[in-house]
Amino acid sequence: MTEVLSEHVGSGSAGGALLEVEDLHVEFRTRAGVAKAVNGVTYSVDAGRTLAVLGESGSGKSVTAQTIMGILDMPPGRITGGEIRFRGVDLLKLPEDQRRKIRGEGISMVFQDALSALNPVFPVGWQIAEMFRMHRGTSRSDARKKAVELMDRVRIPAAKERVNDFPHQFSGGMRQRIMIAMAIALDPEVLIADEPTTALDVTVQAQIMGLLAELQRDSNMGLILITHDLGVVADVADEIAVMYGGRIVEKAPVHDLYRNPAHPYSKGLLESIPRVDLKGQELYAIKGMPPNLLEMPTGCAFHPRCPYRRDNCVTDVPPLYTISGTRGSACHYWREVIDDGSR
């Protein structure tokens, strides 16, 4: 069990977690003003565990991941505060050459759109082999052999014949497998998967999620799964962090969140899932729209859409209140939300 998830923003390290993000702040300076994409995110993941980061577009979930990987475009991006500790070492203080070593060997990432993440002018085998050549100095022929092994491991049929094919010659699901092969090439300890199945059909999604689960079991990786799909989260997550407007609004073990959400936003999301027994009735819909990052609402970012809103929600930013050892909710009235239960 990771007890770190309950950790309060700003309250020191719990120690022991493999990857810890603490009070991270990231903003983008644009012509239109400063967009505060990440406003104090704290989460952690342990070996063999799966943390799902759930949120809509603009909630800051991908920016957090890019900051962990060190692939954020700076400028316009700027990290204005916080720490990212991998095995206790703050990555943000490391020089670039050391970060480069960790990228791929320590932490690696799978992106949403494999077609744009892979290089279209090199064969896939060459791209997988590049990991070994760059990081390990493996010879070309050995690296190629390893690439074939990896393609076998992610179950690409006839890997040996396909190693010289280009990305466009593969189907969407197969391309995603190739990207997973690249990500696990150097046996990373943490894998970040940013919407890995969003562009895929459900049958292929099931294949890819199954593959990720199997690889995680084999090598005891920590997995950070970034998604907006409540179904995928329910299937694979151990812990969930729900993000809204650049903040974590709720953290909970998976069963607790689905049984009894403690934040009005998570509750609204769960209630807006179409349900069989409510067919023909109007769906519950969270009113309004996600916040504009350039003009964040004062106080709680969710207050313009919240049915529990009181006066102090407009003025006071709610901290992540501790509900129990493993749960937290950034709502002043989380007790009421929990008492109301899910519909």
């Binding site: 049958t203 179904g231 329910a234 997550a237 069963h255 609204g268 069989v276 769906l283 819909a285």
Partner: protein, 338 residues
């Protein structure tokens, strides 16, 4: 819900093959992509028919054929008894009024250089006899109000709206000519989760208000179930199973439908360790060269010799209450089964 049996749209044996050619000067046909390969169904007035299937199964080509944006290789599409595939010129233009479309991506389906008023009012320019010139602006404002947008925003441009609002603009445009049929091609899949429910509710409200018939294409099976009266499952250009929503979701008989339903992640972590999944191996075969007999046999766990020799027809089979195109159709509840 009891749908009146009056058919507004009758599709019979619809086929669309896109030729594959070789050579630059002398083009020879060397094959065909069988995008839609013999599809028949009826759509009743005021009903929603859900259309599900993987990418490449021909859903969007079917939508284009129904809109007469593509000419079919063979088959017919009758709208109120008249065949739209044979219609030309003025008649086609009049028929198209009756069948409109809401597109998937609200970011690319609206012209960024036109104001909302121009976008929603454009159908009136094309069909100039529907609303007299002087009344168009007012009519557009009414439409904006119907879909829940502020009528005063008529002079704004698409980029000034959020994704959900843009989809409402697309819906207002679809409603402008008061069609009886709207084809919704993945209308909510590009939207944020919290916005999807808003747009779904809007579509349902409009259906009741104007007695619209929807063809609702989506890959999100829970969304399709919520809105549809009947559901058609497509695989490689053919409908493999067709039935009322309960029949498809609770008693699917075609192995492909069963696999599709069991692949959908259930948004409830309870009992997830015990859940049995049917995971299909590989990808769908190419529609240029589909397998003989049953198109699904190459990925099917029930396949036997007969499946390669004889194509199963979409018909009601023993022990089932709705048509299924499988020789070994057998009802099985894959969603609630342990």
């Amino acid at each position: 819900m009891t749908a009146p049996a009056e058919s507004i749209l009758e599709v019979r044996d619809l086929v669309k093959h896109f030729p594959l050619t070789q050579g630059i000067v002398f083009k020879r046909q060397i094959g065909a992509i069988k995008a839609v390969d013999g599809v028949s169904f009826d759509l009743h007035r005021g009903e929603t028919l859900g259309l599900v299937g993987e990418s490449g199964c021909g859903k969007s080509t079917l939508a284009k054929l129904l809109m007469a944006l593509e000419r079919p290789t063979s088959g017919s599409v009758r709208v109120n008894g008249r065949d739209i595939t044979q219609a030309k010129g003025g008649e086609l233009k009049r028929m198209r009024r009756n069948i409109q479309m809401v597109m998937q991506d609200p970011y690319t389906s609206l012209n960024p250089r036109m104001t909302v008023g121009d976008i929603v009012g454009e159908p009136f320019e094309i069909h100039s006899d529907v609303v007299p010139k002087g009344g168009r602006r007012r009519k557009v404002q009414e439409l904006l109000e119907v879909v829940g947008l502020n009528p005063d925003h008529i002079n704004r441009y698409p980029h000034q709206f959020s994704g959900g609002q843009r989809q409402r603009i697309g819906i207002a445009r679809g409603l402008a000519l008061q069609p009886e049929i709207i084809i919704c091609d993945e209308p909510v899949s590009a939207l944020d989760v919290s916005i999807q429910a808003q747009v779904m509710n809007l579509l349902e409200r409009l259906q009741n208000e104007f007695n619209l018939a929807y063809i609702f294409i989506a890959h999100d099976l829970s969304v399709v179930r919520h809105i549809s009266d009947r559901v058609a499952v497509m695989y490689l250009g053919k409908i493999v199973e067709l039935g009322r929503d309960r029949e498809i979701y609770e008693r699917p008989t075609h192995p492909y439908t069963q696999a599709l339903l069991s692949a959908v992640p259930v948004p409830n972590p309870e009992g997830r360790e015990q859940r049995q999944r049917i995971i299909l191996q590989g990808d769908p075969p190419s529609p240029a060269n589909p397998p003989s007999g049953c198109h699904f046999r190459t990925r099917c766990w029930k396949a036997q010799d007969i499946c390669a020799q004889q194509e199963p027809l979409l018909e009601i089979r023993q022990g089932s209450d709705h048509p299924s195109a499988c020789h070994f159709a057998e009802a099985k509840d894959v969603v609630n089964a342990p």
